[in-house]
């Protein structure tokens, strides 16, 4: 077979398709978005009738994937690292229900926060849930691991967490595909109470999960993705997790690394290899992308007698992603001389696209808020968060999906007036609706602006569940019809918008304003496609 040129995300998607995937679920989030997008574009996925629609949020995605597993078929859900927080209720409990058909939870972490609000390391979730976790080091492993993960998931009836990071998700390389597998037939679990987590059953299932830990460890010990490379200089042993292994090897092209190296791509940690490297080396250097998880495990609380270097002792920075230079410095103490960036280079932050409707909506809001001063606008996650930057500087929060509405409610409860929430359409259907219901129940004195560009914009224009549904959703949740208003955010409607926002601020109760105009990017794409 011929090699395919694939992003890490795409390689995982292609691997899952070839390994008999029947259902793909997810919510867009950088750097995970391309996993679903690839399945959606895939001709094989269409031919095989694989389910491949976006879900309302990561929790509904994970639950749907678990439901497909319940019915005996292989499923995958994808999300970014913070999306796993949203899905964590399902994720944690799915380790206890276990799987029927194989299930992969694919999570792409974003160390260095290129497009995220934190850099949490999803391997900790795997450890927390006692779930086997795979961390590919290259695109070929992304592909191969889909087969491995589905196999292990069905063998031990356990979901498998697949953790990618930005640089692998968004880097492409040649991938050699395998012979595709058939999809599973519909087949309910043998134990019809397996998924019923009533306390008595949950306790039983939890003990099964605990008893399986030893087997998961054995799987890691014999895993083809964990490997031990002998080295003659035993002053230092190097444990390299995921793509950190590539950064290490980058420094030994055409030569041999003199130190013993343990490559880790499957967790729980392979005890045999860990015992070997810690017993034969004076010091162990841990290279891991994200948090110092393995380093902390080796050290233990009291630090033990083992000498461990890594992110905690300053051998590597405590935060941010790794690169070949940081690894070289940690291993050899060597630094390279490089040119500096000339002072003339100015920063170029991201900004709204020309003609974006958010600009007009914010211009109206900014004019009204001049009367009240800074500090009244709680916002959310999406393109419209760019209004935090100059020249707008119009928003005062961006925390998690949906938090604008509930934080504005809390601030209003505290007496803030006016209290304004600004949220996007897709973020609203993701996690804003439930918060709005809270505000409806108390008729909270606040204004919610749902900036509707009819797409999930920041991640590149994926379908939004909110299209044509926002007014009926707000009405259905119980917002007073007279205080749900749609406007078209255009320069010519500036005065109308200013008047409306002012009027709804002065109304003592809950108002929703929905400025609606399609995203310029998706509009451009559609116009191009229709040519």
């Amino acid at each position: 077979m011929e090699k395919m040129l694939l992003l890490g995300d795409e390689a995982l998607a292609q691997g899952a398709i070839d390994a008999g995937l029947s259902g793909m679920y997810g919510y867009p989030g950088t750097p995970s978005t391309e996993i679903m997008e690839y399945v959606q574009r895939s001709k094989t996925a269409a031919d095989r009738n694989i389910h491949r629609k976006w879900s309302a949020n990561e929790k509904t995605a994970a639950e749907s994937a678990l439901g497909m597993s319940y019915a005996g078929k292989r499923s995958m859900c994808s999300m970014k690292h913070v999306g796993l927080n949203v899905a964590s209720d399902c994720f944690m409990n799915s380790a206890i229900t276990g799987a029927n058909g194989g299930i992969i939870v694919a999570v792409a972490d974003d160390p260095s926060m290129h497009s995220s609000q934190n850099e949490q390391d999803s391997r900790n979730y795997g450890k927390f849930a006692l779930m086997p976790t795979l961390e590919p080091s290259n695109q070929q492993e992304c592909y191969d691991m889909a087969f491995h993960a589905f196999g292990m998931s069905e063998k031990y009836q356990i979901p498998v967490l697949m953790r990618l990071t930005t640089r692998l998700s968004h880097s492409r390389s040649g991938v050699l595909p395998k012979q595709p597998l058939e999809q599973n037939e519909l087949k309910l679990p043998e134990d019809k109470r397996q998924f019923v987590l009533l306390p008595a059953i949950a306790r039983k299932r939890y003990r099964i999960l605990l008893a399986n830990q030893e087997k998961f460890e054995q799987e890691s010990e014999s895993s083809p993705f964990n490997s031990y490379h002998e080295g003659s200089d035993k002053t230092t042993g190097i444990i390299a997790c995921g793509i950190a292994y590539n950064y290490l090897m980058e420094n030994y092209i055409g030569t041999q690394c003199p130190y013993p190296v343990l490559k880790i791509s499957q967790y729980p940690l392979p005890r045999n290899h860990i015992e070997k490297i810690t017993s034969e080396c004076d010091t162990v250097l841990v290279l891991e992308e994200g948090s110092p998880m393995v380093e902390e495990m080796l050290k233990g609380y009291l630090g033990s007698c083992l000498k461990v270097r890594g992110r905690l002792d300053g051998s590597l920075p405590r935060d941010g992603e790794l690169n070949p230079n940081l690894v070289l410095q940690a291993v050899t103490g060597k630094d390279v001389d490089v040119l500096s960036v000339p002072q003339v280079v100015a920063t170029r932050p991201p900004k709204f696209c020309n003609g974006c409707g958010h600009i007009d909506a914010y211009n109206a809001l900014i004019e009204v808020m001049k009367e009240y001063g800074d500090g009244h606008v709680l916002s959310d996650i999406g393109c419209y968060t760019l209004a935090a930057l100059p020249p707008f500087q119009a928003i005062n929060s961006c925390v998690d999906m949906g938090a604008s509405i509930t934080m504005a409610k809390g601030a209003a409860d505290a007496g803030l007036f006016p209290s304004i929430a600004v949220i996007g359409d897709s973020t609203f259907t993701h996690s804003g609706m439930t918060g709005l219901l809270d505000a409806v129940i108390e008729n909270t004195n606040m204004v919610v602006m749902i900036l509707d560009n009819s797409t999930t914009g920041m991640t590149g224009g994926q379908d939004s569940h909110a299209v044509d549904r926002l007014v009926s959703i707000c009405e259905g949740l119980g917002v007073d019809k007279d205080h749900i208003t749609r406007v078209v955010p255009l320069k010519k409607n500036h005065d109308e918008m200013v008047k409306l926002i002012r009027q709804e601020i002065n109304y003592k109760g809950l108002s929703v304003i929905i400025p609606t105009r399609e995203c310029m990017q998706t509009l451009k794409r559609k116009t191009k496609a229709n040519k």
Partner: protein
């Protein structure tokens, strides 16, 4: 053979089409390749870069080490300077000279040009102008590949094949314009270095 190339520009300018053509030519030549790119927030008019690595042996890191790039190929002059820490001491900076000015504090263009002139190996090309002159302003990126073509370690014919493959479904006219852009860019570099 190893070529490590930083591609740089501004989100929306289309540096990924450059990566696609060079990447196609590399794979077609039987070489190994890794190409890391930026998706997400910066694509909204922020600075973007792609690490393109081509080699006759397996490529390890998805990122080019600092001081390791053989070339910075930039479609915006100020952006070519942002990645200088990646450039090796004998590496080339090949950059478009037309600024993309979407920030209020864009420096004086003369100051940018002065900095580019200080780089030992540099090629400065008005790719926008060249693309306009051949009647295909959209082909600016292909002019840039042409300008870099002699330093990519790839057969020129493979790059042409890459263009045919990538633009093929858009029809012969588009393919031919892009091929002309490639050729014109290459000729420009030849003349630039004679000066």
């Amino acid at each position: 053979m190893k070529k490590d190339i930083i591609l740089s520009g501004v989100g929306g300018q289309g540096i990924l089409s450059i990566a696609t053509v060079i990447g196609y030519a590399a794979i077609d030549s039987g070489l190994f390749m890794k190409q890391a790119e930026v998706h997400g927030m910066s694509q909204r008019g922020g600075d973007v870069q792609s690490h393109l690595r081509i080699s006759d042996r397996e490529v390890c890191s998805d990122l080019i080490p600092f001081g390791g790039a053989d070339m910075i190929l930039s479609i915006e002059p100020m952006e070519s300077l942002r990645y200088l820490p990646y450039l090796s001491s004998d590496g080339w900076v090949i950059t478009n000279s037309t600024p993309f000015n979407n920030i209020s504090n864009y420096p004086e263009i003369e100051d940018v040009m002065k900095e580019i002139a200080r780089i030992k190996n540099h090629i400065l090309i008005d790719a926008d102008d060249i693309a306009k002159n051949i009647g295909s302003p959209m082909s600016m990126n292909m002019v840039m590949i042409g300008a870099a073509s002699d330093y990519l370690g790839l057969d020129f014919g493979r790059l042409e094949k890459g263009i045919k493959f990538i633009f093929g479904r858009k029809g012969d006219e588009v393919v031919n314009k892009n091929l002309e852009a490639l050729k014109t860019g290459r000729e420009f570099t030849g003349n630039f270095l004679k000066k």
